[in-house]
């Protein structure tokens, strides 16, 4: 396959590409990021200490997104295996040389920033799987030997991330990778089998508790315990969930108003500017605020899906849909967590939570979505504002 398969002649070139961007998506992303700045400003007690660096990163991210979008999608397809391979090597590297932070080895110190390979892997894995299915003839998709390959591609980084240990990212990789396989058309039966096996595995993990071959760490067990019954230890391990629910619940319909949220600003909330930032939004802006953010997120997904369905190119569609699913998993897991529907696993709220790596990687991913959008094959006359 080569770029010749694309109807290159009808793909915009030069500055015209800018006009061909999915501007609706850009607007939505910016809107979500602005909500983030506002909440960060409020959480810091009316201080720019988190909002300002976050803005700088977002502007940097926007630049990155545009840059990536200008590069033809087929280039990204061709380098996908390389990106995947390099990221996998980086994951191995953090195991070996990574600085220890927060009890887990998660990043490589680059001097100007801390590179978190596990974040990058979320995108790299989607790219790799999309490239794989692009290469694989459609009629072989469900054959066992061709199913084993993507499973290995998923499990390899998942295992490395789990070893760090970063349960949240591991779950996102597993679910995200599975979603791409599902989108590519792998037979239902495989998913049924895997889900069945997963249930079996969870049972096994729980049973391994306290034995010599215990499969996950004690603190992860405790998080599961407190997830199941947060009131059992409201000041200890259940503190996060209980306080988070109090903050959220006390918001009501319309919230306490901007800068009026007491729980988060008074430090009752742990990680108030990162993983638990949604609680502040919900406390200060109430159900209306939370609903609006959720609506924006779902609109971003919808824009991606609509864009993907118009692409008529397997790699482009799969990458766009895959990234949309990964994005969805981010906020779905985070919101479930802060609302007490899932255990606390440490997944940030996309585009809102304070943090550089996650923001830049997300913008990179949206850059690829934009590139797919810009460089999609077009029917005669489509996507041209100015007819020659």
């Amino acid at each position: 396959m080569s770029y010749l398969e694309y109807n290159v002649a009808r793909v915009p070139a030069g500055p015209g590409k800018l006009l061909a961007l999915n501007w609706g998506l850009v607007l939505l992303i910016t809107a979500v990021a602005c909500i983030g700045f506002m909440v960060l400003y409020s959480v810091a007690g009316g201080n720019w200490r988190w909002a300002e660096p976050q803005m700088q990163r977002f502007v940097l991210g926007l630049g990155l997104m545009f840059a990536v979008a200008m590069v033809p999608i087929w280039f990204w397809r061709n380098v996908s295996p390389a990106i995947y391979g390099v990221t996998l090597l980086l994951l191995v590297a953090v195991e070996l040389i990574g600085a220890t932070g927060g009890g887990a080895q998660r990043w490589i110190e680059l001097g100007f920033m801390r590179l978190q390979p596990s974040e990058l892997m979320k995108v790299a894995l989607v790219l790799m799987l999309a490239a794989y299915y692009d290469w694989l003839p459609a009629n072989r998709v469900s054959r066992p030997q061709w199913v084993i390959v993507p499973i290995l591609l998923i499990l390899l980084p998942t295992a490395l991330v789990l070893k760090q240990p970063d349960l949240g990212t591991a779950i996102l990789l597993l679910a995200g990778g599975g979603a791409v396989m599902f989108l590519a058309g792998v037979h239902w039966a495989y998913f049924a089998t895997v889900i069945g096996a997963a249930v079996g595995l969870v049972t096994l993990v729980i049973k391994s508790r306290g034995t010599a071959w215990q499969l996950i760490k004690d603190y992860q067990f405790r998080r599961i315990d407190t997830f199941l019954d947060p009131d059992s230890d409201p000041l200890g391990a259940g503190y996060h969930i209980t306080q988070s629910k109090i903050a959220l619940g006390s918001g009501g319909w319309t919230g306490k108003g901007f800068m009026q949220g007491t729980q988060a600003r008074l430090n009752f909330l742990p990680e108030k500017h990162t993983d638990f930032i949604f609680t502040t939004l919900a406390e200060e802006f109430g159900l209306i605020g939370g609903m609006s953010l959720l609506a924006l997120y779902l609109l971003i997904i919808a824009f991606c899906v609509v864009s993907a369905l118009r692409m008529k190119d397997r790699f482009a569609s799969l990458v766009t849909l895959g990234i949309a699913v990964a994005f969805f998993l981010f906020f779905a897991v985070n919101m479930s967590m802060v609302m007490g529907m899932a255990p606390v696993v440490g997944v940030p709220l996309p585009l809102v939570s304070y943090g550089g790596s996650a923001m830049l990687v997300l913008m990179l991913a949206f850059g690829i979505v934009q590139s797919a959008h810009v460089h999609r094959p077009r029917a005669q006359g489509e996507g041209q504002l100015f007819r020659r």
Partner: protein
């Protein structure tokens, strides 16, 4: 490889289908999230709102100002001073080392306090920890100006106890200190105030005994607090009640005078008003500065006090127990009078010793006193007289009289560890020693040796009861919060006046008659004279061999083996107002060492200021002038001036 049309069409259809399924699932999960959000924020909103309120509103205590302690004339003995300190919350400082280094550049920090504070901060990063205490106003201002550059640092103003007269009151008022774990454990119903940082609690002396009155009641502030305990704003406050002021019966001038007069001797002195039991002065020497203990005494300072052989930390007024020696003879005399074993002009012959059960009991005067009547027995302090009297009276009656006069009683005084002393009798020896009382014990007891032990306070009370004929108990607190405490007088003593007069007359002669052992200490202040009795109590046995060789003089013995010098007395003789008791540990002779001190103390009390030189007998005047003018007195409390010209 060229992709064929079927392949492209197949995958395109499939992806479209799956994408729609996936989109539907995502939408469904979004609806689930929305439902959960609604459930928490609308259905359960009230419950969570309540929880949120409880979360952030805390009640913070306001420490009340501790009650002041005054002397009987309104001189402040224990006050509160504003102190400036700097505290730090570690969590609020980004780089603790940098902040400390910056602070060091601004003011001088005490290294020991700082290191302790740093350790405490490691344990409690969210709590305010004091970095430096008792800063000057200048230092505090420098820090206050630089606060923006010192994250986590707060300059504070607080109250701390201060004892303006320092040394004079270490044993009467005691001191306060930081609340210890033990203080909290000991309290039956721990006041939440005890948990407030930098709170001070009475540790010893009146500060401890009157803690309930002095502490006051905490006020409260309702504050909005974050999870780290940091106060964001105040919502309301209720004022507490300051501690109650306490007025003592002590006269600051007399107290200061006696403290100076005792100097560096290991000694104690008490002056009591015999009419109501007011303790005008209660001095234990050497003393120490209680202010050292308020902020926490340093290890070398404490070791210096602890290892001093004159025991400055020991309250000799009520804890020091001494054989009363000859000052006990009034007790034996009155017991004999009461028992009818002696009376009127009865006499005993003193030949220098009494032989009882094949043992010789010597009089202090080797050659003996010859015929001795009641007055002479006290005047010349004849031991043999009392040996004879004790054999007839018996120890149990002597002990009963001692108790009647206040010995063997732990008085209810606002001091720490008030001792009850020891008045021995047959039952006591049987019970505590498992031995029968022997006649030799009675002889020893009759002259205040052997088992008998009394504190200086008890001796002052004993003398006061003899002087007034009243059952008077000592009283240290005059009023609390303006409400007067009852007088120390319980009623008249159950002793006939004639018996008391026998003792009084003897004591008068001790000082004022020719040949009296205390005649050196006589005075005549505008017609006021006094009566007294000396005592010299042995702290070692004199063996027969030594007695044969000649008793070693006190001056030739090491300090710790010399006799205790005692003196008790009261004045004026004809209308008693004050009693005094002085004990000088290992001081030597009672009449030569303790007597002049007791004299000066009671003269000051009578005069309401420094004794006039003209009241001393001419022979003593020069020496008295020398002693009085060499004293380092506190001019703010001591009244009067020594007139060098007569």
């Amino acid at each position: 490889m060229k992709r064929n049309i079927q392949d492209q069409a197949l995958s395109s259809r499939r992806i479209t289908r799956r994408a729609l399924v996936m989109g539907g699932m995502q939408l469904g999960f979004g609806a689930l999230l929305l439902g959960r959000m609604r459930h928490l924020q609308v259905d359960q909103a009230d419950e969570f709102l309540l929880l949120a309120e409880e979360n952030r509103i805390k009640v913070r205590l306001i420490a009340p100002a501790r009650g002041l302690v005054y002397d009987r004339n309104g001189v402040v003995l224990a006050g509160n001073e504003q102190i400036y300190r700097v505290s730090m919350i570690r969590e609020d400082a980004d780089d603790v080392d940098a902040v400390i280094a910056h602070l060091r550049g601004l003011v001088k920090l005490d290294e020991e306090t700082l290191q302790r504070a740093l350790r405490e901060m490691d344990r409690r990063p969210h709590q305010s920890v004091t970095l430096a205490d008792r800063l000057s106003w200048e230092d505090l201002s420098v820090i206050a100006v630089n606060v923006p550059a010192l994250p986590g640092i707060t300059p504070e103003v607080g109250l701390s106890r201060v004892y303006p007269l320092g040394h004079d009151y270490a044993h009467v008022i005691g001191y306060v200190g930081r609340v210890s774990e033990r203080d909290i454990a000991e309290a039956e119903d721990p006041d939440p105030l005890l948990q407030t940082p930098q709170f001070q609690i009475g540790k010893i002396g009146a500060e401890k005994q009157l803690e309930g009155a002095l502490r006051g009641k905490a006020g409260a502030r309702r504050v909005e607090q974050n999870a780290a305990g940091r106060i964001m704003r105040e919502l309301g406050r209720t004022e507490g009640r300051s501690g109650q002021d306490v007025q003592l019966t002590i006269d600051a001038g007399l107290q200061n005078f006696i403290q100076a007069r005792l100097g560096q001797e290991s000694a104690a002195a008490v002056v009591m008003d015999v009419r109501n039991g007011d303790v005008l002065a209660a001095v234990s020497a050497p003393s120490y500065d209680p202010n050292l203990f308020v902020s926490g005494i340093s290890v070398p300072d404490y070791a210096g006090l602890r290892d001093n052989d004159h025991r400055p930390l020991h309250n000799k007024i009520v804890q020091g127990l001494y054989p009363p020696g000859s000052t006990f003879k009034m007790v034996t005399l009155m017991a004999g009078l009461e028992a009818g074993e002696i009376g009127g002009g009865d006499r005993f012959y003193c030949g220098g010793y009494t032989k009882v059960a094949n043992r010789r009991f010597h009089c202090w005067k080797r050659g003996g006193h010859g015929w001795v009547d009641i007055a002479k027995s006290l005047r010349e302090s004849c031991d043999v007289f009392y040996y004879e009297l004790a054999q007839r009276t018996g120890i149990d009656r002597i002990a009963a009289m001692a108790r009647k006069l206040g010995l063997g009683t732990a008085f209810d005084l606002e001091m720490t560890s008030v001792s009850e002393g020891l008045v021995p009798d047959r039952a006591w020896k049987r019970e505590r020693r498992g031995e029968e009382w022997v006649i030799g014990d009675s002889l020893n007891a009759s002259i205040g040796q052997g088992f008998v032990l009394a504190s200086p306070l008890q001796l002052a009370v004993m003398t006061g009861r003899i002087a007034s004929g009243l059952e008077v108990n000592p009283r240290l607190v005059r009023s609390v919060d303006g409400v007067a405490r009852p007088s120390g007088v319980q009623g008249p003593l159950d002793i006939p006046r004639s018996h008391l007069d026998g003792a009084r007359n003897g004591m008068y002669q001790v000082i004022n008659a020719v040949g009296g052992t205390g005649s050196r200490s006589k005075f005549d202040m505008a017609g006021m004279k006094w009566a007294g009795k000396s005592g010299t109590s042995q702290v070692r046995n004199i063996t027969a061999a030594e007695r044969a060789r000649g008793v070693v003089r006190n001056e030739d013995l090491p300090w710790g083996r010399r006799d205790h010098a005692l003196f008790v007395g009261y004045a004026p003789y004809d209308a008693p107002k004050y009693s005094v008791a002085v004990v000088v540990e290992h001081g030597g002779g009672g009449s030569s060492v303790a007597g002049p001190i007791a004299r000066d103390a009671i003269m000051y009390a009578l005069n309401g200021g420094l004794p006039p030189l003209g009241a001393y007998p001419a022979a003593e005047r020069e020496k008295a002038d020398e002693v009085l003018s060499s004293l380092r007195l506190n001019p703010t409390v001591v009244r009067g001036r020594v007139k060098s010209e007569v």
